[in-house]
Symmetry: C2
Subunit: 333 residues, 2 copies
C-alpha cells in the first residue's frame, strides 16, 4: 500500500505521452495529488501546482510518484539527485519503471538509512496463494478485450466512477503498474509466478458485501498469444459475475503480432464466457466498451449503434459518453 | 543442461511412491542411470546396481540426482552428509525439491569452492523472451487434460518412445520438474514469470526439420481454475499442430478442487482446439489417452471402445497398450 497523497514527478518528460502514468493518476485520483515536480525541459503538464520538494512536503505529500517513462531504461544523474533529495525530505518513492529503484545502490542505501520505502510496483511484494476456486461473497466484473491496450483499464476506472456516482458500492482492483500507482495498491499480475497468477486475483478480490462490486482491471486478451495465459488467470481467479467486452475497431492486427488479425467481439464473448462459467456458472456478458478515439463523432455513434444492435448489449465509449449504461447493466443483474 | 549419466539418490525413501522421480528417470531414460545410492532404511528400489559415490564416479556418473521427495521440506543432516561428499567426489547435484539446494549455505559454499553445479530445476535459469507468435518449422504435439495429473507426462514420454521406434523424428520437451530431471533439460513452466510463459515454450520448441515432432509435456488443464493460465500459455506458445486429450475416468472432482466436476472430453476438445487454432489454424485433435489404472482389463477395454466410438478418434491407454496408435495418427497428419 503506497501512502497518499502524492507529489507527481514528471522529470524531463519529452512530451505529454511520456507522462501518461502521471496523467492517469491526475485524471482518476485528483484528490491523491498535491502537485507536480518538473525539471528543466519538461514538456508535460498535469495542470497541478508546480512545487519544490519542500513545498509539497509542507502541503502534506507522503510519496513522490515517478509519473514519467525514462529514456533508454536508465535513471539519469539529474533524476537521481531529485530522488535522493526526496528521500532526505521525508518522501517515500513509488515507481513502475522496468529498472527498479531498489537496484540503484545509492537510493537503496539512502532509503535504508532514513527508513523510507521504495515501492517498485512492477514487482510483487506479497507471497500469493495457489487459487482454491472457492466461491466468494460480493460481486465482480472483469473487462476482457479483443486485444491488449484497447482501453480495459480506462473502462474499469470509468465504471468505478459512474457506479459510485449512482450510489453503488464498488472498488477498482488494479492488476497493472499504472493502475497500482493510481490507486496505491493492487497486483502486478504480469510479474507474478505462473502457479500463483489465479491465486493472486483471488487474494485481490476477497469476500465482500453482497451488493459490493469489485471492478477488476483486465490484462492481455485470450486471443493474444503472448499474454493469453495471464488473461485466463484473471477470468478463473476473478470468478466474475459479469464480463464487459473491450474493443478498438480501427486496429489492423493484434498489438505486436503483425500476423494475427483481431478476433470478432462475438468470438471473444463466446470464448470468455465459456471459460468464465467454469469458475462461475452464473457469469454473463453485460456490455461492450468501444475505444472510438480514432473515429469522428458520426463514425463513433454509427459504430456503437451497429455493435449494440448486432450483439444485443449496451455498447458505449466510456471516454466519450461515460460508463453509466454499463453501470446500469450491472445494477440490473 | 544437466550432465549425464546420473547416480540416482534414493535417500531414506519411506516407500516406493516417495521415489517416483527416480522411477520416472529409470523407466524412461535407463541409459542415463549408472546406479542408485540408498541410505539405511530406504524402502525404494529401482533395480539398479547399488553404488557408493566412488563406485558411481568410477562408472562414469556425472550428476547425483535427488530422485526422492524429502519429508517436511527439510534437507536432513543425513542427506546433507551425502550431498557434501558427492560434491567432494566430483559430482554435480540436480534436484526438483521445493527447498532449493542453492539456499543451503554449506552446499552452496562447497559447490562454489569446487566448481560444481547445483541444478535446482524448480527455478528457471534462462531469461525467456516474450512470445512473438511467429510460425516455426517442424511439427509439435501437445497433451491437454481434463484435469491435472491425469497422465500427460506419461503420454508424452510413451509417444516419444513409440514414434522413435517407428522411425519418426521426435523430441520430448519437458515443462515440469520430473520431466526436466528425466531428460536433463526443459522449462519449469510453473515457476516462470507470467509475461514470459508463452515465450518460454516458443524457446523450448524452436525451428526444426519439417518432419520432426516436438512432443510437449502438458501442464494443468484449461478447466482447472488454479492453473488454467499455464495451460493456455502452453497452447499458444507451443503452436501445436496436434492435440492429444488426456483423461482419468474414475476421478470424482478436479484435483484439489472438491467443488469442481471434471469436464467432458468433448468440452476439452472444443475449448482447446478453438484456442489452439488462434496460434495455428491447422491444429487438429488426433487422439485420446486414457489413464485406466483404476479399471480392470475388461473395464478398460470397454471404456476405450466407448470413447473411441463416441469421439471418432483413436483412444488408448499408453501404459497398458502402448502409444503406437497415437504415433500412427500423428504420422498420418
Amino acid at each position: 500500500m503506497i501512502e497518499t497523497p502524492y507529489l507527481l514527478f514528471l522529470g524531463d518528460a519529452p512530451d505529454a505521452l511520456a507522462a501518461k502514468v502521471a496523467q492517469g493518476i491526475k485524471d482518476w485520483r485528483p484528490d491523491n495529488c498535491v502537485g507536480q515536480f518538473r525539471m528543466d525541459g519538461c514538456k508535460a503538464d498535469m495542470k497541478l501546482p508546480d512545487m519544490t520538494l519542500a513545498e509539497a512536503k509542507a502541503a502534506g505529500a507522503k510519496t513522490l510518484v515517478i509519473g514519467v517513462a525514462n529514456r533508454g531504461g536508465l535513471i539519469s544523474k539529474a533524476w537521481k539527485q531529485v530522488l535522493l533529495q526526496a528521500l532526505e525530505e521525508g518522501f517515500d518513492i513509488a515507481s513502475g519503471l522496468h529498472n527498479l529503484l531498489r537496484n540503484e545502490p545509492d537510493l537503496a542505501a539512502k532509503a535504508k538509512e532514513l527508513g523510507r520505502t521504495l515501492h517498485d510496483v512492477r514487482i510483487p511484494v506479497v507471497q500469493y496463494p495457489i487459487a482454491n476456486g472457492e466461491p466468494r461473497t460480493g460481486k465482480r466484473v472483469l473487462a476482457v478485450g479483443t486485444d491488449c491496450s484497447v482501453g480495459k483499464m480506462y473502462t474499469a476506472l470509468a465504471l468505478d466512477r459512474d457506479m459510485r456516482k449512482a450510489g453503488m458500492k464498488s472498488t477498482f482492483r488494479a492488476t497493472g503498474q499504472t493502475g497500482i500507482l493510481i490507486t496505491g495498491e493492487g497486483v502486478p499480475l504480469d510479474a507474478v509466478i505462473a502457479d500463483f497468477m489465479a491465486g493472486s486475483i483471488e487474494w485481490l478480490t476477497p469476500d465482500n458485501d453482497a451488493d459490493h462490486w469489485d471492478i477488476i482491471e483486465g490484462q492481455g486478451s485470450l486471443f493474444h498469444v503472448s499474454y493469453s495465459g495471464v488473461t485466463l488467470a484473471l477470468i478463473h481467479g476473478g470468478q466474475p459475475d459479469a464480463l464487459i467486452l473491450c474493443h478498438e475497431p480501427t486496429r489492423e492486427h493484434m498489438r505486436g503480432l503483425p500476423g494475427y488479425k483481431l478476433p470478432t467481439l462475438e468470438a471473444v464473448r463466446d470464448m470468455a464466457l465459456s471459460l468464465a462459467q467454469v469458475a462461475n456458472p452464473a457469469c454473463k456478458v453485460v456490455g461492450i466498451s468501444i475505444n472510438t478515439q480514432h473515429m469522428n463523432d458520426a463514425e463513433a455513434t454509427a459504430y456503437l449503434e451497429e455493435v449494440e444492435a448486432r450483439l444485443g448489449l449496451p455498447a458505449v465509449d466510456p471516454y466519450r459518453h461515460g460508463a453509466e449504461r454499463l453501470a446500469e447493466a450491472l445494477a440490473a443483474l
